[in-house]
Point group: C2
């Protein structure tokens, strides 16, 4: 039930883009440097984010990536679904047609309820919530530093 690096890195990448894309787009190199991630691995993860329509890419020199829609309209569920594949504990919870035993499975309701719970929570946290949290945390740290 653990979230893999793809999911975690995905969140960090999205936050990084959100925080640094005022002037145009953000390149993989920049993100990799700031986030201390391997740029080649990051490239793979970001490409799944492109395919999921969460970021758009600009090719060629001075190219890079930017959010496809505003941060308040991107949920944590969107990002994790794109990078992790799915948030369902069992695939049947997502598309119950996938399992032919669905009707007489005693456990299906368990997976469904768990899936609903996760989707509900992750679906209601937006990238913007994280951006705000990050800005707040940053100012606190800066304040602490000036107070020293």
């Amino acid at each position: 039930m653990k979230v893999s690096t793809k999911g975690r890195y995905g969140l960090r990448i999205m936050l990084d883009i959100a925080l640094n894309s005022e002037n145009g787009c953000v390149s993989i190199k920049d993100i990799a440097e700031r986030e201390q991630l391997s740029d080649k691995y990051l490239e793979q993860i970001i490409s799944t984010l492109v395919k999921a329509d969460l970021v758009s890419s600009v090719r060629g020199a001075r190219g890079g990536y930017k959010l496809k829609r505003e941060a308040a309209l991107i949920s944590v569920a969107d990002i994790l679904k794109a990078t992790e594949g799915s948030l369902a504990p069992m695939s049947c919870a997502e598309d119950n047609g996938s399992c032919e035993r669905y009707c007489d499975c005693v456990f299906s309701f368990v997976w469904e309820e768990m899936y609903k719970a996760v989707m509900d929570t992750a679906g209601h946290i937006t990238l913007n919530d994280i951006v705000e949290r990050s800005r707040k945390l940053h100012t606190v740290i800066e304040k602490e530093e000036t107070e020293l």
Copy 2:
């Protein structure tokens, strides 16, 4: 974020014991036969259930396993925690002390809320709920068969 076979088999094993332990205890062989699982793999999973104090074992001839407490007092969360290790999407969500960056991590609240959501749902479904569901489903199937 998928639940592995250990978690799924764990649930099936617990249900099987609950349904078949009226007269004493249930042997691995019997469970394996009914559930169509490899008895040796099953043995491993059941031993984690013993360590988690969910079932107790009776050694020797005519030995086997039985629930350590009544089904209504065993939750799906208990079973999945025992077999899957943990239901936390990130270990920090469970014991925030484990991560030294916990305080200035922008994402910790995300993992915490997801963990709370999962634990709340899985914690409120008991083995007895599944037993009842199973019995109800069984009578429905029997009814359908006699109607044919």
